[in-house]
Subunit: 257 residues, 5 copies
């Protein structure tokens, strides 16, 4: 994971929502354009960007390290989710990827297929000295609450057991319970998933602070960054929380809070 | 997509309906014959023809560039659609294809299989320097209206994210909403799908004009061309709209309107 | 298809019913023996025989060209039919096949799998300069009448679009409607499927005559030949209808009619 | 099949019941040990033994020719049966197999998968000059009585059509009806399956005699041999019936009857 | 199995519960850390450790021989279990594995897929001179009691028939019935599965003693070891039972009992 780390911490900019949620759910005239995302990534000092192959192929300019998500699905299919490989590791590498991302819907009735596919991809990635990053999202009849301490820890642990170099999991809501997920990762890098836009910058920063305090490596943020009125300013706040370990109160100017 | 473009715009002649709809739905004694289509393609000045492998193998004469559709299905199977690869990229290339077409039924319960298959085909096509063109047709329980602004934009965006060089999507009904789909494509070529025969040439031309005004690269037209009494005349109208950006009123002689 | 043609017409002897229907449905002590079929093929002057791999391996003697059917199923399985590849193209060729046969159940919920499999087989056959012959039998909830003009034409067209060199389809019942299927084939060879034993030789010959008048290349006949009391005599009648275009009345001696 | 024949007839010792039925159904302290089976095979003068790969790997000593069953299933799964390949042809050969066995559940809703798998295996076996032996057991909604004349003949014919060198099928109950199955095999070797332990040696020998009289090549016997109090004595009876064509009365000493 | 044996007996430390059960079910702050497990393995004198690939990759230090479990699933999916391959044999070997573990859910409606996958893995393992160890856990509608004498023997026998070098099965509850499972293994190494934490050390040791007396090779223990307050002490007890065949009474100091 070295290309994506600064002093062992990391702030990644995720932008696969065009496929996962559809452009009409999350995008406006500004952030529908991947060039805008590349711009934020550079100006905001992000440690990495996360793209699907098509966006990578057309818009990636090499200015920040890239993770290519190699599987994907739309939000239109009902039932237990399945997300299949749409990009080979070789192809991702040829686009300049320095990391390979894959989403596992833990608990889905199609879990076995994603486990098997990730298993192969992890090995191909390591063969090329690329880290394999697992997005682990619990779903299905056996998952009552996908942000509970127990379930988020299960997500992190699954990534560890399957050989991921890093996991992206949802935040549990408080630092103490999230630290159990970090422990379950047993030294593997754990990233908090940014999730939908928080009501205020402060609210979002408190989540991030909680994750960092729990031992998380950092954050993979999408909507909370590029839906923000001023993504570069938000990035500057985030960097203070993640890399300088500043308290939220110190980060946001009083009037803004 | 260069072989299929003139000044960045394009008019393609689609002829895979014999498989997709069956000959008895769309064809008459004239257009059931693929030789007639090749003739229209040349006389009408189309920038490309779209065939399944069998028609390509028997009737393609190299006079206009060809896209081979490499998957297909009949209209007789009920339930959520699945269309599987029936032609290898290598075979399509050996038939003279300058582009590879593939249909994705976005939202179908079989979406994952088509995503994975297109993912592989896109890479094989690019390896041979052939563009991959995605027909993206939303279907299934999660799709209430497959020509809504939101859904058509989702279709275009899916093609972009999966690495297509061009997308063929349905028209939304008006230029403004279609421009959102073009934006979702983020620079990828977006083609309006011709759809079933419009009541009049004028009605059809207004749709095309709307798409072009919205930023579409052009049109992939089938039934509206080869079911037309005078396909070559229609093609001449279309060219004025697509390449010369003429208003519909200027294109069709008054008495015809 | 040249090895199977005489003056552009053809009469093929089909014998895969032992697998498709079971020996107890169609066979008696005489025709249960494949050696008897080879004998008829030679004496009757057939242009080809059609066997599954096992019969080909044990009984084929090279005296008439052979098509090996490379997929098959029993009649004991309920639900929408699926017939999978049981013989590789390479193996069929090693047994002496000059053509590769494959059955597609158009409209079956398993259609996609057969389309994909035929797609691969057609390419492998062409690589070895062997024709691919598609048996196309419409089935499933979307098929009300599998001998209607529309459906039979769809069957023929499917074979064309998927790259078959010839199609074997059911007869529609009259020459005029069958000519629409031949047109849908657009020059591809169309064979009438013999079907179950007709009540009289005359009745059967009238069907064949109708197909030939409609432009069919010929006939693939099984039960109507080898269940006939005198298969060689029937073959002589058929040859007059198919190759000499004689009217049925001229073919059958009056007392027999 | 030459390694397994003596004067064109054969007596095989089957021992895959540990997997197919489970040890607690069929085994006792004596016959649970594969070494005991190898011992019977030699002392009883059997023409072959039939093992799964694991038993072959640990217990096969080369003293009689071996068929390795390359697919298998337990008896614990409900619904239509499916038995998948668990041993490659190459591996079976490396263990010393002189024949490859495969079970097809004809009529099962999974029939297509087994047909396809057997099709590949038959070709791989022939490439290594090994015979392919098909166990064909009819099952499923379309099979009312799996020992009827019609169904057993269908089983034998299926093996022939798919290229098997021999078929193992159930006995129909009488010699006349079984002769129809042998005819359906059209020269392919047909083996009667021993089935569950018959009430007396005489009853079992009468079945075998009926099969041999019907033209069967022989018998693949399991439980009736190794569950017998004196398997070697039973084998001596069987040899008289199979190879010397003696009547059952002449074979069994009067007091025993 | 030689690397995992001492005088033909064995005590293995299993640690795949993080994936199979989730960290929140079985782990505490101490045993959630794989480094703690490696420490126990060494100090306790275990003959082997059992890890999933990810734990192997990060924590394995080569001090005791390792089995890598190459399939896995979470406990969150409902219905009949399926566990698919997530690690190639080649990759496991590259991590230092001296044995390959695979779980088969015997009786599950997905049994066929696991049988087939294990069949391939067993051959790949043997090609590299690695033993294949089968965890066989009966499940599904056909399994009323997964610790009955009959079912546990079926589990052991399945491993034997499919070519496993060792089986890990549940204990039946008493030594006599477990000896039937050992017999069903016919010389293959049979390991008792430790199962959930027993109420007392003595209760657990009595189970192990029963298995050893029945002829088991040893024990694969997880929770009963690393959930124990003093795992090293427990290991010392186990070694006396397994390797020295001491009675339980002699092993545990009186006050502790």
């Amino acid at each position: 994971m070295a290309p994506f780390l600064r002093d062992g911490k990391s702030m990644l900019l995720a932008y696969d929502q065009g496929l996962e949620h559809g452009p009409s759910t999350d995008f406006n005239d500004r952030n529908i354009n991947p060039a805008f995302i590349m711009e934020i990534a550079v100006k905001g000092g992000f440690n990495g960007v996360i793209f699907q192959k098509g966006v990578a192929e057309r818009f990636y300019d090499g200015k920040v390290p890239m993770i290519v998500k190699v599987n994907g699905k739309s939000s239109l299919v009902k039932g237990d989710p399945i997300s299949r490989q749409v990009c080979s590791v070789e192809y991702a590498a040829s686009l300049g990827a320095k990391g390979i991302g894959y989403t596992i819907y833990l608990g889905s009735e199609h879990e076995a297929e994603m486990f098997a596919e990730f298993g192969r991809i992890q090995e191909e990635a390591h063969e090329r000295n690329l880290p394999a990053i697992a997005w682990v999202y619990p779903r299905g009849a056996g998952v009552a609450n996908d942000t509970s301490k127990e379930i988020v820890a299960y997500a992190a642990r699954t990534a560890l057991e399957l050989g991921a170099d890093a996991a992206k999991v949802k935040y549990t809501g408080d630092s103490e319970s999230f630290s159990w997920a970090v422990k379950a990762g047993a030294g593997m890098k754990v990233f908090m998933s940014g999730g939908p836009k928080a009501p205020t910058d402060e609210a979002f920063l408190r989540q991030v602070k909680g994750a960092i305090d729990a031992g998380a490596t950092g954050l993979a943020v999408g909507r909370n960054a590029w839906q923000n009125e001023d993504p570069v300013k938000l990035a500057s706040y985030l960097k203070k929380v993640i890399f300088e370990r500043q308290p939220v109160e110190a980060v946001i100017p009083a009037p803004t809070r």
